[in-house]
Symmetry: C2
Subunit: 422 residues, 2 copies
Amino acid sequence: MSASTAPHLVAAVSESRQWDRLMQMAELGAITGADGSPGVNRACLTPLDREARRLLIRWATDLGLTVSVDELGNLFLRHEGTEPNEAPILTGSHMDTQPNGGRFDGIWGVIAGLEAVQAIREAGVQTRRSIEIVAWTNEEGGRFAPGCMGSMAYAHFKPADTWDAVADPEGVTFRQALDEHRSAEADLPQRPLGGKPHAYVEAHIEQGPRLEAEGFDIGVVTGIQGSRWFIVELRGETAHAGTAPLSLRKDAVQDMIRAVTALNALMTDPTDVLRFTVGRIEVQPNTSNSVADLVRFTIDFRHPDKELLITNGDAIENTIATAIKTCAVTVTERFHALPVEFDALVTDAVEDAATAQGLKTLRLPSGAFHDAQFMVPLCPTGMIFVPCRKGISHNPAEYSEPGQLAAGARVLAATLAKLANA
Amino acid sequence: MSASTAPHLVAAVSESRQWDRLMQMAELGAITGADGSPGVNRACLTPLDREARRLLIRWATDLGLTVSVDELGNLFLRHEGTEPNEAPILTGSHMDTQPNGGRFDGIWGVIAGLEAVQAIREAGVQTRRSIEIVAWTNEEGGRFAPGCMGSMAYAHFKPADTWDAVADPEGVTFRQALDEHRSAEADLPQRPLGGKPHAYVEAHIEQGPRLEAEGFDIGVVTGIQGSRWFIVELRGETAHAGTAPLSLRKDAVQDMIRAVTALNALMTDPTDVLRFTVGRIEVQPNTSNSVADLVRFTIDFRHPDKELLITNGDAIENTIATAIKTCAVTVTERFHALPVEFDALVTDAVEDAATAQGLKTLRLPSGAFHDAQFMVPLCPTGMIFVPCRKGISHNPAEYSEPGQLAAGARVLAATLAKLANA
């Protein structure tokens, strides 16, 4: 048995400490779901986000970790290895939530990283490489779209100023919010953007139904399906709902109905693997007795097959243009990520650690989008999934049991220790 | 020639004074349309609305009219007749606009009333009955739906507290806004809600294309088509756009698409007389990567034929319930007004006045909804239409020429004088 799976390390992971920290975090932005479930609404770069970060920093500094932030607001908590000049192992996730979000998506990956490092330190496990826990800025994209800005900038997938002009629904730009945020965190040590970790491991709830339904404890994530995100803008002409003859209207709502109906036909998939979502619709002037002159709607399209992702995604614009009758249309692709595969260095380490702890593992791809996606070109990357009830996520009803989360943290601790000493 | 059509009265109407007042009013809430046209966004019960009302009051008191307001905020400017105990002639319209509105809809009817009364006074025309100019509260319904609250309450069509809980998009209730408004106007003399006028005449731009296209100066409005307004609420379940299989979703956006497609089929009308509009759509949580768990949309359905209005309107709920697949639905009818016919006392007076002035008249029903609708059960009622460019309204591109508006004010002046002395 290697040092990384030594019983004293696994035993040092505290189920109750990790759960208590999650519940403390869940108070920052607490909301109540339609079914009475306790959820969280904590948008990135808000005072609530900063409060959550300060709480995390307090726990990390109490533990002796060192804190730094980069120009995108990504937050790093470093456990020093015995060979601090070696490339570190990076682990973490994000702390922002969807507007009607849950208590586990993202934040558990950060808290689990802290729990794993605390266990490593308290168990007296020496690590050759340093371990850094990261909280990426704006993974969700709920306030500023698209998500994963922090990890994309870190990986130099896009320049750091790419999203400066992106505005939230109140008209605040990402640049304004980031400047305000950085000035509120000016006391924290700065670090350059980017890096070259030795490996990246992200722990996350599955956000899908498979582990629970099939009776597995740990998901060994093999990769992430591809995503293409679009904004469609239909420009018609407003008119009086009582007088304008329907034959003369340029009604943007009606063209939106035609466009989505045609897209539904394009995206039909009897195997139910394809994911197609129109989740956001904005109408102007949005009054009951005026014909709409503008509709903007989003398309979120995902598939694990690269060819299908390209073919169907490329057909979207023409499908809409053919379907609509009266409006001018612009289709903007605001995000495009091909499917990625994770590295055996990490997936094997996760699987070995779980197996050594007697946990049942399933290899599966991630249906959801994660910061890990952007680490793949940088370093060997992988993810650890734990089950979540009914696969529900992005909702206050999102739930994983304390024991399921503790098992995930134990696998993460063993994986980090192994990778840091390999 | 009667006193009411005497040349000295018609000549006392000032085209430039009326136009100047309209342009002064248009500065209060001035916006610029997509095509560069100057429009107005002046929602009811806002500081801008109050500024417009104070400007009107200043003009009215300079002219010697007396001011009063009722508990709904309806504003009255009274020209005293020689027999002040006789039921007055009421004229006017509204001062609020659509969010992306024009410079003429509503406000011209109020300014035209002032211009007509000023002409009557300056020409020295005696009127037996008093004439009251009214500015009704919240005709548009753009901030608080439905519209015509002021006239509905005046006519006791609904109790005055009916809309207390109706909230604007910012969550301010009508009652809160009205209380704030009344306290800001506490210095104005109060009058009881309601009344029994001898007749009601409302001047308005046509908001449709017929007068301009067919070359008429004045529309003698014969009545108003019926309206039924609904709010449809679809409740599904939110889920992660990347993981939730489409077959398991309860996607409120997709059920909205099904519902509107089925309604389009129900409302198909080859004669193009029927008006069916989905103008407002609200989605929750309204983020691109979450399946929507709630969609609310409005239906504005109008038709001049009472039977068709009842039959198709009553079929809406079942049409939606049959079309949707996964959500729970509630359909609420928030407004129902049968078609109304105006009284020959007023329509004949308008037609006679226009003909006597050498103007070309067309008898036509109103496609749009007006406060006049609610005066019909109270007293003989009618409306005067003037042409507007291309029939465009509820848009900054809305336009009527100064001369067209002056012709309308001259016909109104002669009509009021005739009715007040009949």
